[in-house]
Symmetry: D2
Subunit: 402 residues, 4 copies
């Protein structure tokens, strides 16, 4: 992991890379996911771990123009104030990160610590415009030390939020602020700040974020690319591989039941029914899109404290075959959410950074491979998303390399 | 289902179809799979069932030039002599076919019965050339009443068999026969007969069949298309949907364990270790091809008599994620092999028949979607096979429609 | 199955049995469970099926004094009016009852039909005392034709209901009725009627039923035995076999998650959160009693219409072993609730009938083997319940045989 | 853990215990199981861990007269020479033992190291009588420093071995040795040595061990208790809890399929078909005993290196209910064999030591709770074994306390 503005002194022996130093600004920089990503990035930069789990390390994906691991630097916002090193200890205790690794990158964590800034909580009474400006200033300060910044929201899931008439256009939002109203959800204040600071924005959560008409207008006006939403890391990932199988074989899925048990901060957040509504919404839409019809069946997300950062999902699929024969498939997925998501977040930083360099603007539909609810795309089938990602990746690589 | 040469009198009210009557000649015509396919075809023709499970009924697949269900007629070989109606009763008792349906199509089963001919057993001492000629004559007689015949091997799995130096070229085979030798496995005698009778050939089993150099030469010489091998209906189907997920996400699969429990005739055949070797061979190769490396893990096929025509498969996948995190996925698949395979066999008849009409010759690589071990293709990923099938299907449709 | 008062004419050739004819009066006599039990009883009487699933057919259980299958006759109440023969057709369509069997016992179903009487719905405004008297008269009329009646509640689960101060004593209840109040839940009106008619009562549902102080007083005063509550047929049954394993091996269960998918009438009833509360309450209490401590973990009961009378349950158990090692067990149970419960209901009729003959009164704690929430017992461990059942069964058998 | 003959100096503050110091002599003292048990014992003695997984810590089991953890000392034989501290490192790396714990008890491991003696390999040409005498001398030397020794075989599973006519009686064995023959399997030489040294013997493996007529005669003559065989730690444990459920509910189990995946030393040993035969034999016998009839279904034990000391078992049970309804249950068990077995081994040492003090001789049938193939008992049902253990435990406690 590079120190900002000093990439030439980085431990990596590679010459100063063409893409320049990439800054990743995490919204929720002290959470399990961002901490794991920060540790993992340092480990990749120092070659203490391999690229397992990193899509941008796949041999079929064109790597030209992607920021080398050693040339990426992390900063971010968080409302939490517990130091990254402490967060890392918690991850070690939970079996997410090997103790030895956390120890080896402790120095990098402290360096990152110095680049974190206080976040903004929901429900704060203060002037929302001022808050947004403060957040944007934080990002601008970080941007000064790197060649390009990508802002990625990896903070806790918010409840669905309707910004309403106050955020239909950028002018509406300005007017609402001027009138002392605060129409944006917290996640959207960060998205707004990113855009004002000229940074591409990636929503790895199902929170409202950039998905507000006024902010989409702002992004278009500034010519910034963005992507989202809600990382596809576990049970929904499997669904996006399996549902097309049922569909292309003309097998009739009659019900699809899902239960997700998770215990970490994410599980705790999702024990709030409103936040859970955000999550199950993004989960269900894709399934029905892939199967082409409504699919009944309960979908549970349950907090089981004892599971920590681990997630166990069980899915039960009832389908009919030829002559009405009743059949079933069930699967159990046992994974660690933080280590499944962390490399994807780093991938998104690299790919979005390169996309911006290649002149991409608006929703990056080809990044749908990473998301439960892809912005700019109706395609949920994993394999087709993969093919689209590879093709787009080659285009971007061509553009930045020529 | 049409009666041969009398399709204008068929119960279907559709006018004589453009593609003409299609004859499907089953090797193993009295087995569970062929009987289910025959019942199902009659039910489709009479609109007693819908196209669930039929790939050629998928809205994305170009249907132009495919034989209508009502214009397909069945014949075949079998060494078994138990009448189709009895076979159907067994399937009803096993819950494979609804009793009402078997009753409704009993007349069609008896009509098909009249078109079945005795097969040839392995180990028979007789003159192999004469056997092949007799089989070919049976097919020719059937062909006289239809516009086109496709021969499909759905008989029991044979052990691996090396035809050796006697079957390297068609001339070698002629010489071996002249010398009184019988180098071909039984499944290959049927394949040879099909080619001699001018019929395209499809291997739905892992038996040697057409996959003998002398026969491939014969097929090339006659300009006949063929496809195979070993229908991908259950656990391997799921693998071909899931393995690319692990691969494209750069997750490192460390072991993949499979156990298949099955009880029907297929299970009984596969309790023979030699036959099982054919099956596990086709199952394993695809997995390692999709993952790009060797994958340890046992692969069992077990006969559990009580399961009848039903199959239960359990797979356990151990994979590593980012930072070496150990994760697992397991799935259980409970399906009915005969009703999973039957519509695919009908699909293959329609698609191969149209391909022949469109002038296709040699291995039909685009049919890899249906097979564990696709002839003419190294692609095992289900989604990519689907895309290839759709594209090729459009081409064939264009050609036969123009 | 005997016709009442004409057991000597019964199709069975057995001589008039010592215990006399046993009448089973079902509350909910047209439901899936009662219909399956009625069909099954006829099939057992006519030796069309064997005693699989019948606890009273177990070789270790003392059978002396149990009513022979052929000497049991069914009657009952139901608010539903769809004839039993139609109910049977629905069960056949759902794969619960073989078509041939339903056909063979159709005559018995019609005979039973003639013994069914209209039930009482919740929320009816009428005089509750009069309703109870009418129900009791129905039972008395049925009792006139048999030697002994056992009333078994197999109707849909009601929501928890607090009869309150109006039902603390029998005198309170009389007073409340006199004042025009209707403190009893519908299930309790049936229980009250059973007691007034002098019949032992069995609660196979978690509805309030007899579990009201005033009714328990009445039962004690009349010297009647009773048993309940909520049949233990599937996932809770498995729990009562597995939880003691964890406990006796000193393994520390940290969470136990359960999800039950079911589609029949029961599933539909339980999609009502209030009714579900009754059910999950009886499910959870036993687990924590067996493990000796609180056990977190979600417990879902979900209606999945497509599953019909079938139930799929998935349980996930997280436990710690020696040195804090984290381990898991999960199981999937796929059963048919009606055929799991039906033989138990018949067992309970026979055992309760014999118990009454043996002079047993009050809660039959030894029947806890059959229940999620056993009346008169705190024992939930299946094996210990079994041992208690066997011992008590011998005692009753001794008493009625001496 | 006490140092031999110096228990008054032990780190525990408890006064010198009534039962005196107990010596546990492991055959296979450097294996995963013995090493885990040794670490765990030290941790228990130093109160660094709790009694989770220890049956003798169960509140229902009478503890009077059991050796306190701090008064137990370990010695043993092994053919392996890798030091215990290195073995512990391997267990830490495999996630079996927490790193901190291994560190804390390193001193105790080194003390134990000094008490280990070289074992004997199969196939050694040397004089078998001399080998046995050497092994016995080793045990006698260890015994000199403690009040009582229990020998426990936790070494790798041997293939079935028929000692034949040479080992029918103790005199036969003497004669065979005198004639230069070596009829005993290695595990039996350790068992013989234990008996000659006057020590009770426990077989935690399915190896032949003491189960040779000549050795049983010797044990009887010396008045020594013994117990075995083959620890019941995982999938068979679950079977012994579940099979009685099916049986007592009169459900008809039609097939029971088991697959065990394991990767550690045990898995490697069991990839040898002959050794596996020992294991599957003890596994199957109990199931059929509990169900009262033959139960078809494959039973696999597979080596999957990647799993290390962890074991994943999947079982699939097909059973029929009332009216022939087909149902299934399946479970997946994911446990760590070493930490499941280690506390049981310590329990067996304590219970067998107390039994010897209480004057018990011959096979300790009441220890069947711990074994797949209990010596002296035909009871395989877990709950009944538990009740028997508790009752016997009270008797022994009474005797040693009076």
């Amino acid at each position: 992991m590079a120190s900002p503005s000093t990439s030439s002194d980085s431990p990596s022996n590679t010459p100063a890379p063409a893409p320049g130093t990439l800054g990743v600004w995490f919204v929720g920089a002290r959470g399990s996911l961002a901490t794991t990503a920060t540790i993992g990035l340092s480990a990749l930069a120092a070659r203490l771990t391999d690229e397992t789990g990193c899509v941008t390390g796949h041999p079929d994906l064109d790597p030209r123009g992607l920021a080398p691991w050693a040339d990426i630097v992390v900063g971010g916002h968080d409302v939490d104030t517990v130091p990254l090193v402490k967060q890392a200890e918690r991850l070690v205790a939970g079996g997410v990160v090997p103790a030895i690794l956390a120890h080896q990158v402790a120095g990098e964590l402290e360096a990152t610590e110095a680049r974190l800034r206080p976040g903004v909580r929901g429900g704060e009474a203060a002037d929302q415009r001022a808050i947004v400006e403060q957040l944007a200033d934080d990002i601008r300060a970080f941007a000064a030390g790197v060649d390009r910044v990508v802002v990625i929201d990896v903070s806790s899931t918010e409840a669905p939020h309707d910004a309403g008439a106050d955020a239909v256009t950028w002018a509406d939002l300005q007017a609402a602020w001027a009138a002392g109203r605060a129409p944006l959800a917290p996640s959207s204040t960060y998205a707004c700040a990113a855009l004002l600071a000229g940074a591409p924005y990636v929503a790895f959560t199902p929170s409202p974020g950039i998905d507000v008409p006024a902010l989409l207008e702002l992004a278009a006006e500034r010519g910034l690319p963005y992507a989202g939403g809600d990382g596809k890391t576990g049970e929904t990932l499997v669904k996006s591989a399996l549902a097309p199988m049922f569909s292309t074989r003309s097998l009739a899925v009659r019900s699809w039941t899902s239960i997700n048990l998770l215990g970490g901060g994410d599980g705790s957040t999702l024990s709030d029914p409103a936040a859970r509504a955000s999550k199950t919404g993004t989960k269900r839409s894709g399934l029905e899109s892939m199967l082409g019809h409504e699919v009944p069946g309960p979908m549970h997300i349950d907090y089981v404290e004892d599971l920590g950062d681990w997630k166990t999902a069980w899915d039960h699929v009832r389908f009919d075959g030829f002559l009405g024969t009743r059949m079933t498939m069930q699967f159990t997925w046992e994974g660690c959410d933080s280590t499944l998501a962390a490399p994807l977040v780093l991938d998104l930083a690299r790919l979005t950074g390169r996309a911006a360099a290649a002149g991409e603007t608006g929703p990056l539909a080809a990044l749908g491979f990473f998301f439960k609810s892809p912005m700019g795309s109706e395609e949920h089938r994993l394999a087709q998303q993969w093919d689209a990602l590879l093709a787009w990746s080659r285009e971007c690589a061509d553009r930045v390399s020529s």
